[in-house]
Structures are given as C-alpha cells and as structure tokens.
C-alpha cells in the first residue's frame, strides 16, 4: 500500500512537472511580446522595460523554467539588486506586475471562496444524488423512480450559467429571499456567508447530482443481481444491511471516481459558477487575469488547478482499494 502510494505520488509529480513545462512554454514563449502582455493594458514603457528584465527574457527557456521551478521550492527575488526589487516567498508561482503582488498571495486570497463553493456544493450534491439514486433503485419502476430519473436526465442537460441566472432572477430579484451571491468570511459572519452561498451551492448541486443519481441507481441495480448479494440474503441479513453494506458499497466505485474528478476540478476554480454569481474565487481570478492578460496569474491559476486535478486522481485511486475488496494494488 505504501509502495503504491509513493509510486502514484511520484508519477503524479512527474505529470505536474510536464504540465507546468507545457503551460510555462506556451504562456511565456508564444506571445509576441510577453513583457508587454504581462504589463497589462494600462502600462508605461518604463514598466515594460523593467518587466523585460524581471521576466529574464534574455535567458534561454530552460533557464527561465528552471528558475521558475526553483522559486516554487525556495522562493525568489524579482529585479534583485535594483530599487524595484520584489520579494516572492516560497512557494513562488510568479509575480503579477499588474497588481504588484506575488501570484501565490493572490491565489491564497481567492482560495477560501472557491473552497466554500466546492465543499458546500459537493456535500449537497452527494446527499441529493445518492439518496435519489438509492430510492430509485429500491423503488425501481415506480413513479418515484421515473420522476427522479426524469429530473436527473433533464438536470444533466442544463447549464450552470442558464440555471444560475434564472434562479438568481427568481430568488434574489423577484422574491428577495436571498441576498446577491458573494463571499464573506464564514468566521466573521457565518449567517451572511451561508446566505450568499446558497444559490451557488443549490445550482451546482442541482446540475451535478444528476450524474450521481443515475450512477447510484444503475450501480445498485446491477449489484442486486450478483451472487454475493444472494448469499447475504441467504445468510439472513436484513435487507437494510444488504442494501447499505453490500449493494451500495459495491456501487460506490464509479461514484468515487466521478466525485474525485468533479471535486478536483471545482477546487481549481469553479470558473463558470464564480463568473455567473460574481464570487471572488480562483476561477474569477483566472477569468480576470485572462481578460487583463496578466500572464503570471494565468499560469499560476492553471498550474494550481492542475495540481488539484492530479491530487484528486491519486486520492481516488487509493480509495478504490478501500472500497472495493476485489481491487488489489500492485
């Protein structure tokens, strides 16, 4: 188990290294004038010249990339030995000249909002998806099953940016039951935080629970016909024990996979959700950075998101062995 875990972490780090190299080359080499882009739309020639030096465009690409990677581990100082020196502590993911802040600081500033959306929404969609799926599987063919699966099918074809705007129109603008979505710290104003998060949570959960409901239902129905379930029944276990401990557990494997991928990509920035509800999270930071062509921030957010996706993949693989006794790690 330990050996497998270590091997997965090593290969994950390798993938992340390659992803970062690709992202780095694309965003620093492809533009005709990276310094001009990094500087932004309202930029002085003086600043462009300084950024040109700071980005070390005179160096070769491997040297630039090497220094970038080194910065992640030990930090670095941009424009060292000049009066415009900028300190960027480890883990340094670059320096945003447009906002005059280290990228890591910007990311950490936006992480809580994204974390709030992702964690709240994922709890909600798991609850809705699993319970409606279990209900459908146990009451197969009844109106309950048909209604919940019909809903799931429709929800799977809906878009966050459409449902989000419609829900916001109904609950914020017309009924005024909820405030405009946004982000306040849950530690200072827990009630305001929850009220502002309700719409993003519900929208995301409504759309994403669909796939969980369908997966739970089909997985459980499939497992119900297996021999080990018949054995459990023959042993005299209660149907509650059979359904939860045996059937649901076996049906969990594909759900864990999808959940890991969904949560991983959400943590890297719920791009569309944050954009629709105007929530200052990582996804919003990324869209702002793209609009302003703030390349260091763009690179930083993409790498940060890739980190979450790769980590989620590793966690999912490890969870398999816990959930499914048939899986032996080699």
């Amino acid at each position: 188990m330990l050996k497998y875990t270590l091997r997965r972490i090593v290969s994950g780090t390798l993938v992340l290294g390659i992803v970062s190299a690709i992202v780095f080359s694309i965003f620093y080499i492809l533009p005709s004038d990276p310094a001009r882009l990094a500087c932004g739309k309202s930029c002085t020639p003086d600043l462009v010249a300084r950024i040109q030096v700071a980005l070390e465009l005179d160096q070769s690409l491997p040297v630039q990339y090497g220094r970038f990677i080194k910065g992640i581990f030990v930090g670095r100082t941009y424009l060292a030995n000049t009066d415009a020196a900028r300190e960027c502590g480890a883990p340094c993911l670059g320096y945003s000249y447009q906002t005059d802040q280290p990228v890591t600081l910007l990311l950490m500033d936006r992480l809580p909002a994204t974390l709030s959306i992702a964690v709240g929404a994922s709890i909600l969609w798991l609850l809705i998806g699993l319970s409606s799926g279990i209900l459908s599987a146990l009451r197969r063919g009844t109106w309950i099953d048909r209604t919940s699966q019909g809903f799931a099918l429709a929800a799977a074809s809906l878009q966050i940016y459409f449902v989000g705007l419609i829900l916001q129109f109904i609950f914020v603008d017309k009924l005024a039951w909820l405030p405009m979505p946004g982000y306040t710290s849950p530690f200072d104003y827990p009630l305001d935080w929850a009220k502002q998060m309700v719409l993003p949570w519900v929208t995301l959960a409504f759309l994403l629970s669909a796939i969980y409901s369908r997966l739970t239902r089909s997985g459980m129905i499939e497992t119900m016909g297996e021999d080990f379930v018949r054995t459990a029944r023959a042993k005299g276990l209660s149907s509650r024990d059979i359904n939860i401990k045996h059937v649901l557990r076996a049906a969990m494997t594909p759900i864990v996979t999808v959940f890991g991928l969904d949560l991983g990509s959400l943590l890297g920035g719920a791009v569309i959700t944050e954009y629709v509800f105007n929530i200052p999270g990582l996804g919003k930071l990324a869209t702002e950075a793209v609009t302003n062509l703030d390349l260091p921030v763009v690179t930083g957010t993409v790498l940060f998101a890739a980190f979450f996706i790769i980590t989620a993949n590793i966690v999912v693989d490890l969870l398999y062995s816990v959930l499914d006794p048939k899986v032996r790690l080699s």
Binding site: S157, L158, Y161, F162, F169, S265, V276, V290, V302, I309
Partner: protein, 322 residues
C-alpha cells in the same frame, strides 16, 4: 454470424445483419424518434436562417432603436422582451437586434463549431487509439502518457487562457484577429481536450480485438499492418465509435457555449448561443426573456442529443440498460 430468425408467425424467415437489427431497434424507440426530430428541427432552423431574414425583412445585425423604451433607450418596449409579430422572440436590449434571427444564426455558429470539434477529436482519437492499441509497447506507453497529461489539464481554464495568448501570437505573425481566427482556435482547443476520451475507448477495444482469430488469420496470410488496422480491426469498431461521437456532440456544444460565455469564444457581431447568454447577463433582471431564449434552446438541444446518444447506445448494445 448475425443471422437471426424473425419471430413473426407466417412471415418467411429473413436474415438480418447486426446493423440492420440495431437500426430496427432505434426506429422502434419513441424517445429516439422524438429527440431525432428535435435535433433535426434545430438543424433546419440553422440552415433556414437566411430565409427568415427575407421573411422578417431585417438582418441579425440590424439595430432597431424604435423597439426600445425611449426614456432610457435600453429596454425593449412591450411584454416578454418585446415579443411581437415582427420580432417573434423579442429584441435585444440596448441595440434592438431581432432575437429570433440571432437565435437562428447562433444555432449555425454553435452547431458548426461543436460538430467540427467533434469531427476533429474523433479523427485524432480513433487514429491514436488504433495505433496505441495495435502497436503496444513504447508507442502505447508514450501515447497513453500523453492522454494522461492532457486529462490532467484544467480544460476550461486552459482553453480560456490559451485563446487570447494564441490570438496574440497569431497577430504577431500577421494573422488578423477576430472571429476568423477565434473560431478555428476554438475548434482546435476543444478537440485537443476531446480526443483522449475517444482514444481511450478505441484503444481498449483494439487491444481485445488484436488477438482475435480473424486478425490472426489475416496476419498469417501476410496482410500488411495497415491492412490489419484499417481493414480488419477498424470495421469492427464503428459501433463504439458511433456511440462515443453521439455522446460527445452535446459535451462539445456545452463547452463551446461555456467558453463563449466566459468571453474566450465567438465575439460580436457574429451570433452564438453562448454569446447571447453572455450579452443577456447585464439585463437578466429587467429582461429575463432574453436570457431564457438561448438558455432554453441550449437545454433542448443538449437534452435531445443526450437522449439520442443513449438510444443509439441501447440500440447497438442490447445488453446495456439505462
């Protein structure tokens, strides 16, 4: 193989190929019929868009300030976003452009980008899957690693970020900016992230077919590798490929709309459903009709494609259940 007796009493026994049986199953599927008609209807709307400009006597880009509230000059006059006999779906706030025409022309943009991206992703995916599965060893290792790396990319974020950078780079090489470059860039970016899913499925199928007797037989009589891959293995894969394509189209449609909605896709004056939704954001509380029309259109189109994809899968693989 594939000869099944018809069970109808009195009818002569008739041999039916597996594809014929799948087609028969699809024809008897009511959901498939309804969703196919819906998809066909939207295609027809997209194709017939120029005819409507001739019927309504306006173009999707023409401003109609007379349809807007004169006090502020932004909101449409009349209920439901200014729906009238002249403007069937109302008019756009601030410009007064006809929403029905923008919807019809938008369907053209959305569908052509999504279908091109699906086609490109399928070609790359099938080729890579065939090569990776058939040749194995180092080739397979390199290709599967490549897929793994692409799947580790935060696709929406990356696509969003790459568009302006690519545009800037192309501008530096003297290519004019605007939709003429944005649309090809979008197609390439969407298919870049779409092909690994197809390749993985094809690869899995090829690995199980590679060792089958008919391939062995062809190999033993000296068939070339190209013949084995394209003439022996590929014809056996059309069912899984068809299912993947059918289920890939709705994903491409929504990704295209999402990218455009986030501002990295098609830009004005070209109409697009994602662009219409984006344009409706500042007005959603005063003119919800304008948000509703492209959003609902997208929902119906994606739902129809999803249902059709499910039906195709069920028809081709009778063992699969919903």
């Amino acid at each position: 193989m594939g000869k099944t007796a018809s069970a109808v009493v009195g009818a002569p026994i008739e041999g039916r190929s597996p594809s014929r049986m799948a087609w028969d199953r699809l024809k008897n599927d009511r959901t498939a019929k309804i969703s196919a008609i819906t998809v066909g209807f939207i295609f027809l709307l997209a194709l017939a868009a120029p005819i409507f400009t001739w019927i309504i006597h306006t173009t999707p880009d023409q401003f109609h300030p007379e349809t807007l509230d004169p006090t502020f000059g932004t909101n449409p006059v009349g209920k439901l976003g200014g729906i009238s006999s002249q403007h069937w779906f109302g008019v756009e706030p601030r410009t007064g452009r006809d929403v029905f025409l923008r919807f019809a022309y938008g369907a053209r943009t959305s569908l052509s980008i999504a279908l091109s991206a699906t086609a490109l992703a399928t070609i790359i995916g099938v080729l890579v899957g065939l090569i990776s599965g058939f040749f194995g060893k180092t080739v397979d290792l390199v290709l599967t690693r490549t897929m793994e790396i692409i799947l580790a990319f935060p696709s929406i974020l990356f696509a969003l970020a790459i568009t302006p950078v690519l545009e800037n780079a192309l501008e530096g090489w003297g290519v004019p900016t605007g939709n003429a470059t944005r649309i090809p860039v979008m197609i390439v970016v969407l298919s870049m992230f779409g092909w690994p899913y197809i390749a993985r499925i094809v690869r899995g199928q090829v690995i199980s077919l590679r060792e089958k007797e008919f391939v062995e037989a062809a190999r033993s009589i000296g068939a070339s590798r190209t013949h084995l891959v394209f003439k022996e293995i590929l014809p056996n894969l059309w069912a899984p490929i068809l299912v993947t394509v059918a289920l890939n189209i709705p994903t491409m449609i929504t990704s295209e709309a999402a990218l455009t909605f986030l501002g990295a896709g098609v830009i004005d004056p070209t109409s697009d459903w994602g662009a219409m939704l984006l344009a409706s954001v500042p007005f959603y509380s005063v003119d919800p009709t304008y948000t509703f029309i492209p959003g609902f259109g997208l929902f119906i189109l994606v739902l129809a494609f999803n249902l059709l994809g499910d039906s195709v899968r069920d028809a081709l693989d009778p063992r699969s259940s919903r």
